[in-house]
Subunit: 114 residues, 2 copies
Amino acid sequence: MRPYKHPAASELVLERVLYALSDSIRLDIVRHLAHVECATCGELDGGRPKSTVSHHFKVLREAGLVLTESTGTTHMNTLRHADIESRFPGLLSAILSQGAPAKRKAGAKKAKAA
Amino acid sequence: MRPYKHPAASELVLERVLYALSDSIRLDIVRHLAHVECATCGELDGGRPKSTVSHHFKVLREAGLVLTESTGTTHMNTLRHADIESRFPGLLSAILSQGAPAKRKAGAKKAKAA
């Protein structure tokens, strides 16, 4: 099995990191990884279909957020905390420290412009 | 002209804010607005086509980042700094304090997984 490719820390792009974290499934995966040393895809998929989760891991890898290593048939994922921190100081902790996002209510009233 | 609709501060969703800032044009608009009290769309469009810029302003408004008010035929935009700060403390400054993103080089080498 070919090893996954990952961008170097110096190649990380802010917009790509923000895009990777702009999806609630990917944000959940990163939140989970922030609290463990590493985790298999199965531990992080939340019971979602493999094809869906594979796409999300690809986005996270390409943004430089997650390192995936193959050990036999298992894929082990690690948060690239040090790389993100060296490239974008304070960014990841500022995002992950935010509380759980508010759920949008159907028909919720929006504030109008003054 | 009907006023633009804007979400209330309590309705802001983290993923939507991150998505809005995951585009370099929108990130530039927000960076610009962070340094001025307000600005017209024309001052922020960087010479881009109106249709393109209108879409970006819509995404920024719906994420709660920008307030657009119509005064006659002019649209005046303001960064909703206080609302974003009250909902997501430290987030906006952590994002805007990052340097200009690295440009991706064609054929740039990628680090392989260890």
